[in-house]
Symmetry: C2
Subunit: 114 residues, 2 copies
């Protein structure tokens, strides 16, 4: 997707959607940690929380990649996982939204078949 | 300290003191995590908590070593750090308590001079 040109306005839309997804995901991780603390008073629970945060950190570090060359794939994944909707990307050109939609369908089909 | 013999009763005292220290330290770590969650609503706070837990896990994994050959050093460190007191080791023979006391004083002096 290196051939796509991003206008200044599109970059703003992309940044906002990306930041929104990251914030929502971090808040969900935080809520899960709070829930784990409430759910179990066992002293080893802090190490289960550490394992959980290590996993989430690896996954979010891999997922959130703001290079324009991969952003189409990133947005498709974020939509599939429910962190953003297509409406959050309103303002992107059809060259981008069509590619994202195609990937969303493809990834979704892949998940259904797996 | 490989030359020390541990009686069955001493092993019970040692195990209880060791478990007590570990539980107190884990509870302190948990309290710190809860305090960090309360103190800062920033979305990146979960990664600061992850960093903190990673550090504590490394340190506790290194510190809590229940081999009888190193237990004297472990108890001296746990006393110096305040997780147990000499009273928690009541029941150990003088061959062990004297070595622990000597190490407690030595480590403490070392900290004062450093």
């Amino acid at each position: 997707m290196n051939n796509l040109e991003w206008s200044k306005a599109e970059k703003q839309v992309a940044r906002r959607a990306y930041d929104l997804a990251y914030e929502k995901e971090c808040r969900a991780i935080r809520a899960k940690v709070e829930q784990m603390l409430e759910a179990d008073d066992n002293i080893r629970q802090i190490w289960r929380i550490h394992d959980y945060l290590s996993k989430e950190r690896r996954e979010t570090d891999r997922k959130y990649d703001y290079r324009y060359s991969v952003l189409i794939f990133v947005f498709a994944k974020l939509i599939n996982e429910g962190w953003i909707t297509e409406a959050d990307l309103s303002g992107l050109g059809a060259d981008k939204t069509q590619r994202i939609k195609a990937l969303v369908g493809f990834e979704h089909e892949d998940e259904v078949n797996s």
